[in-house]
């Protein structure tokens, strides 16, 4: 395996980690405020559909992105309504949202495009183009002739869609907002001890809705990335469990932004390796591709079992806040 091959795998690692990262940060915001969110998958899926559908009809990818975010926010508000306003079960609400998105996306797609529940193929104008950073080589022949540094720059760092860079920028931004601002402090406090926050005269409901909304926006970007950058168009169930891998990454990262980045890159790497090699030969053993696909889930179970450190979720997570005890 030469250096360029490794770079190519890492390059697709970054591409595949991006939707995971955005969804993982969405989950981080929501769960840090004490709202469990297993509806990441559904919000991504509905955003993927609306982003592709509107980008196709308008021909403008940015309008598609906004439509995707809007659709994701609607489901996020529904989750907020059920779990904050009506103090319902957050897990059940998440399950409902996943099915609602999976069903609605296909039903609407069938009505609008009549292509068996998918959107038409997007032309290159209606997709997010890859950004070539200045001085980067684009043709594979030119890249092969560069030195290791130039290859890294051209292959790995340059040539991603703007959403990839945006997702990466969201990591320090999330960290700064959560750990260095008053808003972040209050938001984290709401996830640990909402009664204390309430006593200080700050609205628990307001903070939780803010967190759920941020999660909606991030899931919206993640979904739009799936259908308008990673592939060109929406197909049924295209999120393919990424929302749950993101959830797994969130637990793996123990609800911290920088660790979330590493966890998502790791799971993206598994995905990239699984895509490139069907079965991996390790001496006598052959590692089947299905094992690589299941690896993120297996790792999370190991982490949850407490075999590698202990994952302690925010203390008030999953519990609706009742003001008058």
């Amino acid at each position: 395996m030469d250096f360029l091959t490794i770079l190519q795998i890492l390059d697709s690692t970054v591409r595949l980690a991006t939707p995971l990262l955005l969804a993982c940060l969405a989950g981080l915001w929501s769960e840090r405020a004490g709202i469990f969110d297993i509806g990441l998958e559904g919000k991504m899926l509905i955003a993927a559909f609306f982003a592709a559908a509107i980008a196709y009809t308008s021909g403008l990818v940015w309008v598609g992105l906004l439509a995707g975010i809007a659709a994701s926010i609607v489901l996020a508000l529904l989750h907020g309504l059920a779990s904050i306003t009506f103090r319902g079960n957050q897990l059940i609400s998440g399950v409902a949202i996943n099915f609602l998105a999976a069903g609605l996306a296909v039903v609407i797609a069938q009505t609008w495009f009549a292509q068996g529940g998918r959107t038409p193929q997007l032309s290159s104008d209606a997709r997010f183009a890859n950004i070539e950073l200045p001085g980067a080589a684009t043709r594979i022949r030119d890249i092969a002739q560069q030195g290791p540094l130039g290859q890294t720059y051209s292959e790995l760092i340059s040539g991603h869609s703007i959403l990839v860079y945006l997702a990466l920028a969201c990591v320090p931004l999330t960290w700064w907002l959560l750990y260095r601002t008053r808003f972040g402090l209050r938001l984290r406090a709401v996830g640990e001890n909402p009664a204390a926050v309430d006593t200080a005269g700050i609205s628990v409901v307001g903070l939780r809705f803010a967190a759920v909304l941020i999660a909606g926006v991030l899931c919206g970007i993640a979904g739009a990335y799936l259908s308008t950058a990673l592939s060109s168009g929406f197909v049924k169930d295209m999120s393919a469990g990424r929302g749950f891998i993101a959830l797994a990454a969130l637990i793996f990262a123990k609800w911290r932004p920088w660790y979330a980045l590493s966890a998502c890159l790791l799971f993206g790497f598994f995905d990239a390796v699984g895509n490139r090699y069907q079965n991996i030969q390790l001496g006598e053993f052959i590692v089947p591709v299905q094992f690589m696909q299941a690896l993120p889930y297996i790792l999370v179970v190991i982490v949850l079992a407490g075999l590698v450190g202990k994952a302690i979720p925010p203390r008030a997570g999953g519990e609706p806040y009742v003001k008058e005890r």
């Binding site: 009506f86 897990l91 409902a96 999976a102 296909v106 299905q290 094992f291 949850l304």
Partner: protein
């Protein structure tokens, strides 16, 4: 004092929730430009209009009774088992293993063995998340979701690499021997018009027996009492000498075994071989069924029947009104889960207020007026 009558809690609120879910579904159909009224007619006719329709409706309902009971039993211990999908898949594996490994002389023996193996495999799959919840405090919702994906990968691997018939491209096991064929509705109820092609088989009686057994377990045994006590308050249960580890483990083993029994209906009764993704979301429908049925076997049967009709009617809908995708039933399923589960308080609070107001008026009328 401040409670509403029991019938309102058990019948009225679920009914209002389901009607709301169906109304919103109708709204969705109207928005996409089709007539909800006609769609409903097509679905009802498709599900109940013929012996063919009934066969499929009851066949699907059988699956949903098993998965619904699985979720319901876990709900009584306040455990949310989202892993029915994976547990049922493992149950199917158990059925296939034992039916292919032994040359069965008669279907009754084969059925007994297949039941044992489906429950054993599925319960084992549920046991790991249960153990992690009981001993390590790992959230069972997350671990069961993860186990669904691991089960799916495992089944793909086994079907492609181990169980696949040599020379065949399809990822499915060899067909089971003819001797293991379960009597279908055509055999035991041919007089009702069921043909040989109906998927309905004697598993439906197993499902109904399972309902009775679950009812006995939850409301008529000491173990059931302990499960319910644990579900109401873990601390109180511990104080009363109930062992939480034991309750979590047993409840999840029963829950997993029930989910696994679904494979008897599908793998042994219908497909007669192990195929990829035979569960087809039935594990998730179980969540909607248990929520709607208020975790009671009678409610589960009624809810399973409704979803069986939705699945069969939805298949017919696709032919009659091609503009409506079959995925519409997933939307209805989601709305039922939303209204009966997550938005329960939205319906409950106004109904409670109404009953309180009625009660107050009645009390006022009964009380002698002090000013007189």
């Amino acid at each position: 004092m401040d409670k509403m009558p029991k019938w309102a809690d058990v019948v009225l609120i679920p009914l209002i929730s389901v009607i709301l879910a169906l109304l919103v579904s109708g709204l969705v159909v109207a928005i996409i430009g089709e007539s909800p009224w006609r769609a409903m007619q097509v679905m009802v006719k498709g599900a109940f209009g013929s012996a063919y329709g009934w066969g499929y409706t009851l066949y699907y309902a059988t699956n949903f009774i098993f998965t619904g009971l699985a979720v319901a039993v876990a709900f009584h211990a306040r455990l949310f088992n989202i892993g029915g999908e994976g547990q049922a898949a493992l149950g199917g594996l158990g059925v296939a293993v034992i039916l292919l490994a032994v040359d069965w002389p008669h279907w009754t023996l084969a059925l007994a063995a297949a039941m044992g193996f489906s429950m054993l495999f599925a319960a084992t799959w549920a046991a790991i998340p249960a153990y992690l919840q009981a001993k390590r405090g790992s959230h069972i919702v997350i671990t069961t979701i993860m186990f669904n994906y691991i089960a799916s990968a495992l089944l793909v691997y086994l079907l492609v690499n181990v169980l696949r018939v040599e020379g065949s491209m399809a990822p499915e096991s060899a067909s089971f021997a003819a001797a293991t064929h379960l009597p279908s509705a055509a055999d035991f109820a041919g007089g009702l018009g069921f043909r040989g092609s109906t998927p309905l088989n004697i598993s439906i009686f197993l499902a109904l027996i399972a309902c009775v057994l679950v009812w006995l377990l939850i409301w008529r045994t000491r173990l059931g009492y302990e499960i319910r006590a644990f579900g109401h308050s873990e601390t109180a249960a511990v104080y009363a000498g109930i062992n939480p580890t034991k309750i979590i483990m047993i409840t999840m083993l029963i829950s997993g075994a029930l989910a696994g029994m679904m494979a008897i209906n599908v793998v042994m009764g219908e497909a007669e071989r192990l195929v990829l993704d035979f569960v087809e979301g039935a594990g998730f429908v179980g969540i909607a069924v248990a929520l709607m049925g208020r975790s009671h076997p009678v409610g589960v049967v009624l809810a399973a029947l409704l979803f069986g009709a939705l699945y069969q009617g939805g298949a017919e809908l696709q032919f009659e009104m091609p503009a409506i995708s079959r995925e519409m039933i997933v939307v209805i399923q989601a709305l039922v889960i939303l209204f009966t589960g997550a938005l329960d308080n939205m319906v409950r609070m106004p109904v409670q207020k109404l009953f309180l107001a009625l009660k107050r008026r009645r009390d006022d009328a009964a009380r002698p007026n002090p000013t007189e």
